[in-house]
């Protein structure tokens, strides 16, 4: 198809504002999917996505509308996946911005909307859910145009649920969004904006052809990583795979690579041909996404270690950002130290392991990557607090440049939060009389636990938050160890700023005292820096645990109770003879919540 008849677009929206429902209606209206085959929210193919109402992995669907080829490129909607979102947006010329007619603009919409503007996308504003009794379409339209400019009359008012005016959205996409302007004769270049893994066909890359043409069978190369392969099949999604002979400049589609390792192709990389006129310059914007948040994953039942290993191997095929290496913990046995893009990513991986692979896991509190100066003058990266030297002379921790957009009445609140989290103020600018853009430098360690939740709750959900890693900086850090029954529990060690060590240590042992059930003996719980104990609590011994009556008619019942009691113990981890329930290993996650009470 000639580029003049192609439109590439994304839909961006705050969670629950109706992105997936709109996508479903578009598929129906364009006869891409027959009504009878329509499953709700077809684009979100993983169960987890459908349940959480979020999109984790982007996908692209081609639809036909009035003689035009429209490519809908779906985007993930969370801060952990900012980079993936930005690549998806870069594959488009425009974006449909969906705003809920009752709720108006919300924080999360903005980060993605600004991202779209940064990528020079044409924005088609849409107000959704106009059929709701509480809807205020005019108010919502006004808000959108105040922010983005334009005429409120141009805002399309729809109900994705009932299908009202969805055709107008498609018309607006054709009319307002620019056609791609690639050079058909130039050396071939395509942006990889997503990839997935098919167990029979290997890695499948989703691409936007920018220049030139790609043909089935041609020899290809990923420019940043240097990976080479042949295009076994080219095609587009509609919504299942439809093979084609070639994909040309402006088009969106997939390449079946036959590669067996998903990490051989990275989102953001540029594909070109190996023969003939290969491109010299890759497309801009590629970043090597490195996991910055780490946590230990251990099977509750140590017999399940091989299953956990297999499951991680399989997840990794679909998720290049997931990192893992074997880890041995004295307290938790054999497991893996895993690296994630952020907390949501971690949560998703954990849930997929438990749900799709039926594993029962213990996840330790997450930490960031640290850089430690070795005696020989080399810097070593450490992913696990227990690997840290006790005396942390020279340690660096990752920092982020945080960008927070918030209504002006919350500026004080946000500053207060950032100060609590060791943030350094950078700048403040007014985006409009109502909205303020704050930038801060923050240690990543301070945001991995609950920063986002705190930011949202303290600003009643209005703050939008985005960040970029800005490198490593030296920090006054100490390692706090936890001893249960006199024995250090490696899985509970944490690295923390010296100033917070006492408070955190105290809160942690208090929390653990609540989580560890009373045993047959007193159990001291201590927090220590090196050999110096900074906090101590005791779980007092139980004094009685025996059923009084046991005669001839009671024996079977009693035996079964005992077996149940035994089973309950098996679920706990033995640390120096103390039964520690799995919840205790997450105690550190809830410390801040408690502090606020």
């Amino acid at each position: 198809m000639d580029q003049g008849h192609i439109r590439n677009f994304s839909i961006i929206a705050h969670i629950d504002h109706g992105k997936s429902t709109l996508a479903d209606r578009i598929l129906q209206l364009t006869d891409t999917v027959a009504d009878r085959d329509m499953r709700e929210q077809l684009l979100d193919s993983m169960d987890l996505e459908r349940e959480r109402g979020i999109t984790i992995k982007a996908q692209a669907v081609r639809v036909a509308w009035k003689g035009y080829q429209l490519n809908l490129i779906d985007t993930p909607g969370h801060v952990d996946f900012t980079y993936e979102v930005s690549r998806s947006l870069q594959a488009c010329e425009g974006a449909v911005l969906v705003v809920d007619a009752a709720q108006g603009i919300e924080a999360q919409t903005l980060a993605n909307a600004y991202l779209a503007i940064e990528n020079e996308l044409e924005i088609v504003p849409v107000v959704n859910k106009i059929d709701l009794p509480s809807a205020d379409p005019d108010g919502a339209a006004l808000e959108v145009t105040q922010l983005l400019g334009g005429d409120p009359a141009d805002v399309v008012r729809i109900s994705a649920k009932t299908g009202i005016n969805v055709d107008q959205v498609l018309d607006a996409i054709v009319e307002r969004i620019a056609a791609p302007e690639g050079d058909l004769e130039a050396p071939a270049r395509a942006l990889i904006f997503d990839s997935s893994y098919d167990q029979y066909r290997g890695v499948i890359a989703f691409i936007r052809v920018v220049d030139g043409r790609f043909e089935t069978g041609s020899a290809l190369r990923a420019m940043a990583l240097g990976t080479q392969f042949d295009a076994e099949e080219l095609g587009f999604m509609s919504p299942s795979r439809v093979p084609v002979k070639e994909l040309v400049a402006g088009e969106v589609g997939y390449v079946i690579t036959g590669l067996k390792d998903v990490s051989a192709l990275r989102v953001g990389d540029t594909l070109t041909t190996r023969k003939g006129a290969a491109a010299k310059e890759p497309l801009p914007g590629y970043k090597d996404v490195k996991p910055m948040v780490f946590a230990g994953l251990f099977p509750s039942d140590s017999d399940e270690y091989p299953e956990l290993r297999d499951a991680l191997e399989r997840l990794k095929l679909n998720d290049a950002a997931l990192f893992y290496e074997p880890e041995t913990s004295r307290a938790l046995g054999f497991g893996f130290r895993c690296g994630f893009l952020g907390l949501l990513h971690m949560e998703i991986v954990r849930e997929r392991l438990e749900r799709e692979f039926d594993l029962d896991l213990i996840v330790t509190a997450p930490n960031v990557a640290y850089r430690v100066l070795e005696r020989n003058g080399d810097w070593r990266e450490v992913h696990n607090p227990s690997e840290m030297p006790a005396e942390l002379e020279e340690v660096e921790e990752p920092y982020i440049r945080a960008s927070i957009i918030v209504p002006k009445e919350y500026v004080g609140t946000v500053m207060e939060l950032n100060n609590e989290r060791r943030g350094n103020f950078d700048q403040l600018e007014y985006l409009s009389p109502e909205r303020v853009h704050l930038t801060y430098d923050l240690p990543l360690a301070e945001i991995v636990l609950d920063y986002y939740d705190q930011l949202k709750s303290r600003t009643r959900g209005y703050a939008s938050f985005d960040y970029d890693l800005s490198g490593f900086q030296a920090g006054k850090l100490v390692r706090v160890d936890v001893l249960v029954g006199g024995e250090p529990v490696d899985a509970l060690s944490l690295i923390i700023h010296r100033e917070f060590a006492y408070d955190r240590g105290r809160l942690l042992v208090e929390k653990l005292r609540e989580e560890i059930p009373r045993q047959m003996f007193d159990v001291p719980i201590q927090a220590a820096i090196g050999s110096r104990v900074i906090a101590r609590e005791t779980v007092k011994a139980r004094r009685k645990d025996v059923l009084a009556k046991c005669y001839g008619g009671d024996i079977s019942r009693k035996r079964k109770l005992l077996e149940k009691q035994k089973k309950g113990k098996k679920r706990m981890k033995q640390v120096g003879g103390v039964e520690v329930p799995q919840e205790a290993f997450l105690a550190v996650l809830n410390l801040d919540g408690d502090k606020k009470k």
Partner: protein, 384 residues
């Protein structure tokens, strides 16, 4: 320990009738219905006849439990006692208010050697919580009546942990019980068993007070051992030494359960555990349905039953669980394979179990502190 199914030495007989069903009770009971007592006893004797082949001759103990055995219509009770095989220890459970001189005489004539009285508590307001009919005076009178009929082996049941029971109430109960100088005492913590009326009404209160009541068991043991009683089983105490005149006042019938001996139970809801001669055993439980029980036996059939086969390993586990309730050493050889060796070492180190030599072999015994935590210790000790 286990028999081959022909020389069982312990017989349990269940008489389910009661004047009133107490809220906390989860035994098989039938309220009133004195016109049915005769028919039930007929059926019970038929069952006993059918099972006589498994019993040794003579047997060691009989225990007549309930319900309220002494609420059973006197003629039926007399007939039953007369038909039971003779034994060195024949115990009958009794509620204090049912103990009259006539009943005492009936028991004596029936060969009863031991009476177990359900006193529960001496505090009237707590008796009310338990919905007990007898008052404190009924208990005292019952003991004297039994003494007058020359019963020299009387046991009192007491319950602690009753909602609203203060430490002073417990001390008072123990003092009152000791004043009656019973040969034997059973002390039960009130259990909120699921499904009982009592649990429905008091369950939350029991949870609330559970921590405060943790020390009650310790006080019971301290008080009774100081008064010269032997704490021979988790919940059971008996006179010993000179106070016992050299006699062994342990409940020998119940000792049979705890030592892992076979037993035959007859009557509704009664449980039997009988060896098969190959180290395994069968446990059967007569279903708690009085009319079906009577109907089946009257036409010459077995009463409806649940059957639970017990493998060697299961029996060993039970042997451990029951044997550790006693103050006498449990031979290690009998239970060794059920034990997690590492756990044993840990528990010995923590002073909850002691290893000792008895009868020429190694044996185990819980320490005093271990006995208060008996279930947790046993669960820890079992191989996973």
């Amino acid at each position: 320990m286990s028999t081959d199914g022909t020389n069982v030495r312990h017989l349990y007989v269940h008489l389910p009738f009661c004047a009133h069903r107490c809220g906390y009770c989860d035994f098989v009971t039938v309220v009133g219905r004195s016109d049915h007592h005769g028919a039930y006893v007929d059926a019970l004797l038929l069952e006993l006849d059918r099972e006589r082949g498994v019993l040794a001759d003579p047997i060691a103990t009989v225990f007549v439990g309930g319900g309220t055995p002494t609420f059973t219509e006197p003629e039926a009770l007399r007939r039953l006692l007369g038909a039971l095989p003779p034994a060195a220890e024949v115990t009958v459970e009794a509620n204090p208010e049912t103990v009259t001189p006539e009943l005492a005489a009936l028991l004596r004539e029936g060969g009863v050697t031991r009476v177990s009285l359900g006193a529960q508590t001496f505090a009237p307001r707590l008796l009310e919580v338990l919905e007990r009919v007898a008052g404190p005076d009924d208990v005292r009178r019952a003991v004297h009546t039994l003494r007058d009929a020359s019963f020299d082996n009387i046991s009192l049941d007491l319950v602690y942990g009753i909602p609203g029971q203060e430490p002073s109430d417990l001390a008072h109960d123990l003092a009152e019980a000791l004043a009656l100088a019973p040969e034997h005492l059973s002390l039960y913590e009130l259990e909120a068993k699921p499904g009982t009326r009592f649990t429905h009404a008091w369950g939350d209160e029991l949870v609330r007070q559970s921590e405060a009541m943790e020390g009650y068991f310790e006080r019971v043991v301290e008080t009774l051992t100081a008064a010269g009683y032997r704490w021979y089983e988790t919940a059971n105490f008996c006179l010993e030494g000179s106070a016992a005149g050299g006699r062994d006042f342990r409940a020998h019938h119940n000792l049979g359960y705890w030592q892992g001996h076979d037993y035959l139970g007859v009557g509704v809801g009664a449980v039997s555990t009988i060896g098969r001669g190959d180290g395994t055993a069968v446990r059967r439980r007569n279903l708690p349905a009085v009319f079906r029980y009577v109907a089946a036996l009257s036409v010459g059939a077995d009463p409806p039953r649940e059957i639970e086969p017990l493998e060697v390993a299961t029996l060993r586990e039970e042997r451990l669980m029951l044997g550790l309730r006693l103050d006498e050493p449990l031979p290690l050889r009998a239970v060794e394979e059920a034990i997690d060796g590492e756990a044993l070492e840990r528990l010995v180190e923590r002073g909850l179990i002691e290893r000792l030599r008895a009868d020429g072999g190694e044996a185990l015994r819980l320490t005093n502190r271990g006995r208060f935590l008996g279930d947790a210790v046993t669960a820890d000790l079992l191989v996973a």
